[in-house]
Symmetry: C2
């Protein structure tokens, strides 16, 4: 079931500053910022060739990463995203195994325009897991 | 400078239990455990095709992930590892930019038998960064 590691998301308090670190200090190519008001974040992607790093900054009131940044004011790793061939089949298999699918359990459209779901960290060694339709 | 995302490391309190979750719940292929006493951890790798997840369990006294697990008893994302073509050139460039290289600044041999270095999270949006010679 588990497919490619699509991206690792890092929540940051200052997207411009974090982008500059990746671009100038690490010599990476950083995309232009993309505001995703329906997800409460502004994102940039860093292409590592085989995968991506997603830097997330809160956008608007009630951003889903606001409480994470309150606990981790400097930022930190927020979630990993794995691709799956069939997100509905994956969801049903995970629910049957007892894993907690966040929200109403229906996939939403993510930053890449594809259906995504999030799985509660308690079931995955403290790690928030996103699944994205491949 | 920044190359491929070699792996994402997740520290776990119980390697057998976390391996079972990845194998049975997520349907992933999990390697046999590998004890690395010189690094104070036992590891398994999960091959995602394009990259890897490394699950880390403390090994012995004074494991470098012991304090992380005290703060995050269920486990959590511990570091990301990027490949670089020339680890000494990367280190010198990073030091010149003001980044803090951990330890004595000399690469050690990592889990894949290649030279590695760690960079302090304060310089990378709260994220511990490992560099590995490609």
């Amino acid at each position: 079931m588990l497919g490619r590691l699509n991206h690792v998301a890092i929540a940051v308090p200052d997207l411009a500053a974090a982008s500059a670190v990746y671009r100038d200090t690490l010599g990476a190519t950083v995309s232009a910022p993309q505001a995703l008001p329906e997800h409460g974040v502004t994102v940039v992607f860093i292409d590592t060739g085989n995968s991506k790093i997603e830097l997330l900054e809160p956008l608007g009131q009630g951003s889903p990463i606001a409480s994470f940044l309150e606990k981790n004011p400097s930022g930190g790793m927020h979630h990993v995203c794995y691709e799956v061939d069939d997100i509905l089949a994956a969801r049903d298999r995970l629910k049957a195994s007892g894993a907690c699918v966040l929200g109403d359990g229906e996939p939403r459209i993510g930053a890449h325009g594809k259906p995504v779901l999030f799985l509660h960290p308690k079931d995955f060694a403290g790690t928030l897991v996103e699944l994205e339709q491949a």
